[in-house]
């Protein structure tokens, strides 16, 4: 079992529904977020390109945040999901510094917080909140080790990229391009 998210940048319109859905689902305080939208423009008028993508924790296999956590609060669970146990987190912020994706934030209650792939939903047979609301259906979630899963099939069929591959983290968010 290896959970992954595949995001089709050709369909994403950057509406940010994923952001509100996550905030609502995971009780992320207003002003903070576990996922966000990036727009990257290239070229000069009128020869332009625009990539829109929703970003979040990459649930890296080789995760610097887990390696540098002094208390073991950051850890990897089954399915390769990186989690933070709030009670064990001392809020030192080392993981925030180490993350090449800027995916973690300091929760006002003192601990570090980030995307959990909505494991509480996944375990109930639901999709992560962001995936479940996306109006363009540009986000896919599933098991990379299952060759018949939608995510595996998409990665076989389409061109894709990951973010900051040079960091060597082996991220598990894939962007179809």
């Amino acid at each position: 079992m290896r959970y992954a998210m595949v995001i089709d940048t050709l369909k994403c319109v950057g509406c940010s529904d994923c952001v509100v859905a996550c905030q609502t689902e995971n009780n992320v305080p207003i002003g903070y977020c576990r996922d966000w939208v990036v727009e990257a423009v290239n070229g000069t008028y009128p020869q332009l390109e625009l990539e829109i993508r929703t970003e979040r924790c990459n649930h890296c296999e080789n995760s610097p945040c887990v390696r540098c956590c002094p208390t073991g609060a950051s850890h990897i669970v089954e399915g390769g999901v990186v989690l933070v146990t709030h009670d064990e987190c001392i809020g030192c912020g080392a993981c925030i510094e180490s993350c090449p994706y800027d995916a973690r934030y300091q929760h006002p209650e003192g601990y570090v917080d980030k995307c959990t792939f909505c494991l509480h939903r996944v375990k109930d047979g639901l999709l992560p909140a962001c995936v479940s609301v996306c109006p363009t259906r540009c986000m896919y979630f599933g098991d990379l080790e299952d060759p018949n899963s939608e995510v595996s099939k998409l990665l076989k069929k389409r061109d894709y990229k990951t973010l900051a591959p040079e960091a060597g983290t082996n991220p598990h968010i894939f962007y179809l391009i």
Binding site: L10, D17, V20, T44, Y45, L48, H86
Partner: protein, 738 residues
């Protein structure tokens, strides 16, 4: 800052929201979550969203303590396909907004200054009823106008029809869709409706004329656009701005603003000259083709190039792209099309283009909508008004099928019309006129001349600041409303049921209209205690019931007519000729051009830039700009400026500038500059709905600039009275003008 809600706990299985198949359930069985998500039982009631006009049906989830947790789309709904847009998902913010109106307010003059004081509902209704009776006695009930948007308007419409006025108006007509409504009625005999009957999911080519799908989050359409992208459809986007959808288009035509008509005519020229149009369809279903052919003869791509800056080969290539996809091609009618004062004619050109491509009534083009009518709850017949807004127009705007709100404003100003026909009272429900209407000076003048101004809203908007009496409405999550019955691929209905009790002293519009009617002696028009009785009566007549609808939220009925034309079918259109009218005899009779013509529009003077405006996917007009959830996604608008222009003016990113328009009007608030290649050098762009100046909107006050304030000039469409608003030019003031 919104208070932190209790941790959300989902007990999903009992709620029927599982979106994964059973086999997927097994996949997750071995997983052990280390997250502390305890489960809490959630309940739900059906609703349809009121954050925008798309009215997506969904479910309001709440816990045992009657605390609203979230709003989620209804899988059976054709507007949303079970997925809400960010505004729908963030709709709970409308309920939790701590700046909401909670008490009726009455304006009071005290020693030169005016304030609002809180009042009881009874007192507020007494003030309104007395004034309405006085105006009716002195002038007539016709001298009062209801100006409305959204669901609240339905209930007040019953009230004001009973009262005796026909002056019922919605800015969504002349400030938005009106030109499209009339042009499609002229051409096809019907308006493409809402949601539009565009078969985007099955199209092979989608053509957008300034329409920014994806930024305008017209939910079902955006979803279908993504489906079409998946299926390899090509998109052609005509927009001076590199919009989101432009970036997803096979062809982006960065047109010179205000020249779309020339491009449309050149496309028609290419399709006819190269014989790419659907000959059989044109033969079977249209009239006036030879006149059209003759009319566009000289409107070649070379001619259009000089006007639009779009190269002739691109015009030809895109015309062929459409023809290759035909009939699975949609030249989109757009939604907000009140741009340049010749908007009915431009929309006619869009209609004609669709007609010769044969897209109307064809798969991947325009499907045929089918709806189901909701039985009318029995109430007495109201007296027919003796006159209405049309009377004083004396034949002006002959094709206005609804009342342009700008006409109501004009007719409220002393001296503009015979005092006999002057509107003396406004009852405004659910529309924030100062941000909605152009020509703010006329609005302010009219307001001074009114004897009564009532505003109904959930929030302290600018419009409530002008009112004599403010009535606080509860949000859509706290009330029943009329049955939603929008024709679509399948006839369907949806209901709105309150999830929780109205907050504070807020009330649903259905209750307000009924109670106000009682005060005015019109109680017989509202023969029920609670609006749910009306719904149950109507639903039972339709073979359902309120109980059933509470369980399912949306009910779909089988179609009685085909969704597309049959092969070679000669369809009877609802036009005078029964055909698609390429050439419009009716327009000719009215003294307008029977075929669309290109008109040159004014260009910005030196140092000024055309003000274009649009939407962001996380906001609806100005009504969401204080919503805590949505403000968190976007709290202000930015002024898009081309880097060349920024360099001429020495503007830096995020620098605040004030705007000054061609009439010397300076924006109340500054707006931050966004320097981007995505905008042409001759125009600037901003998202509509910001720059609120009501201090009661704590989050929204002074954030960004208000485009409506800069729209002090309009070009009125002589055919139906729409206000063309993209005719204003602005320049930058780098220092605070105050």
């Amino acid at each position: 800052m919104k208070t932190r809600r209790d941790f959300i706990k989902i007990s999903s299985l009992g709620l029927g929201v599982a979106t994964l198949s059973a086999s997927k359930l097994n996949l997750f069985e071995s997983l052990k979550s280390e997250e502390d998500h305890e489960t809490e039982k959630l309940f739900r009631q059906p609703t349809y969203c009121e954050i925008c006009f798309w009215k997506c049906a969904g479910w309001t989830y709440f816990n045992e303590k009657k605390k609203i947790i979230k709003v989620i789309g209804n899988d059976k709904d054709q507007h949303s396909n079970g997925r809400f847009c960010p505004r729908g998902t963030g709709g709970i913010g409308a309920y939790y907004d701590e700046d909401r109106l909670t008490k009726p307010l009455i304006r009071e003059g005290k020693a030169g200054s005016q304030t609002f004081r809180e009042a009881s509902w009874d007192e507020a209704f007494t003030v309104i009823a007395d004034k309405l009776k006085k105006i009716a006695a002195e002038s007539g009930p016709e001298n009062v106008a209801l100006i409305k948007h959204g669901s609240a308007g339905d209930h007040f419409k019953t009230l004001f029809q009973a009262y005796g006025t026909g002056n019922i108006s919605a800015p969504s007509y002349a400030q938005c869709r009106g030109p499209r409504v009339e042009s499609f009625k002229l051409t096809f005999g019907e308006d493409p409706g809402s949601p539009e009957q565009t078969d985007i999911r099955d199209t092979k080519c989608l053509v957008l004329i300034g329409s920014h799908l994806g930024e305008n989050m017209h939910n079902g359409q955006v979803q279908e656009m993504a489906m079409a992208i998946d299926k390899g459809a090509s998109i052609i986007t005509v927009d001076p701005r590199y919009s989101t959808v432009a970036s997803k288009s096979k062809f982006w035509l960065p047109i010179k603003p205000a020249t779309d008509m020339a491009l449309l005519l050149a496309w028609i020229n290419v399709l006819i000259e190269e014989e790419l149009y659907d000959k059989q369809y044109v033969e079977d279903n249209t009239i006036g083709f030879e006149k059209l052919r003759h009319h566009v003869k000289r409107m070649t791509p070379e001619w259009a190039y000089g006007i639009t800056t779009i190269k002739p080969d691109v015009i030809r290539k895109t015309a062929r792209e459409m023809a290759n996809a035909a009939p699975a091609v949609i030249v989109h009618p757009g939604r907000h099309v009140a741009w340049y004062g010749d908007d009915v004619q431009r929309s006619r050109a869009v209609g004609i283009l669709n007609a010769i491509l044969g897209s109307w009534g064809r798969k991947g083009g325009y499907f045929l909508r089918e709806g189901i009518s909701v039985p009318k709850f029995p109430i007495p017949k109201a007296n027919k008004p003796r006159w209405n807004w049309k009377t004083a127009l004396n034949g002006q705007f002959p094709l206005a099928s609804q009342s342009p709100t700008n006409v109501i404003v004009e007719q409220s100003i002393k001296g503009n019309v015979d005092e006999k026909y002057r509107i003396r009272g406004w009852f405004v429900a659910g529309t924030n006129l100062p941000l909605t209407l152009p020509e703010t000076d006329k609005f302010e003048k009219a307001v001074q001349d009114l004897d009564l101004f009532v505003a109904v809203d959930t929030m302290p908007m600018e419009v409530t600041g002008y009112a004599d009496v403010v009535l606080p409405e509860c949000t859509y999550l706290e009330r029943y409303d009329t049955i939603r019955s929008s024709p679509h691929r399948e006839p369907n209905i949806a209901v709105r049921v309150p999830a929780v009790e109205p907050l504070g002293d807020t009330k649903p519009a259905s209750w307000m209209a009924k109670e106000l009617a009682k005060k005015m002696g019109l109680g017989e028009f509202f023969p029920y205690e609670d609006y749910s009785e009306v719904l149950d009566w109507q639903l039972k007549k339709m073979g359902s019931s309120l109980d059933e609808m509470k369980r399912i939220g949306v009910k779909t009925f089988p179609r009685k007519t085909p969704i597309y034309f049959a092969e070679g079918e000669k369809y009877r259109f609802k036009t005078p000729s029964g055909k698609i009218e390429l050439y419009s005899e009716r327009m000719k009779q009215l003294g307008f051009s029977p075929l669309p013509e290109y008109t040159k529009h004014e260009e910005p003077p030196q140092g000024f830039y055309r003000l274009n405006y649009g939407r962001a996917p996380m906001h609806s007009f100005g009504r969401t700009s204080n919503n805590p959830n949505l403000t968190d996604l976007m709290s202000e608008n930015f002024l898009w400026v081309n880097p060349k222009v920024a360099s001429i003016w020495g503007l830096k990113s995020n620098q605040k500038v004030w705007l000054k328009n061609q009439d010397g009007i300076v924006s109340d608030f500054p707006i931050k500059v966004r320097i981007t290649e995505r905008i042409r050098w001759d125009s600037v762009y901003m998202v509509h709905g910001f720059g609120h100046n009501n201090k009661k909107l704590k989050r929204a006050f002074g954030n960004g600039a208000n485009d409506s304030q800069m729209i002090s000039k309009v070009l009125i469409d002589p055919i139906m009275g729409a206000t063309g608003m993209r005719v204003n030019f602005v320049t930058f003031l780098k220092n605070d003008p105050a």
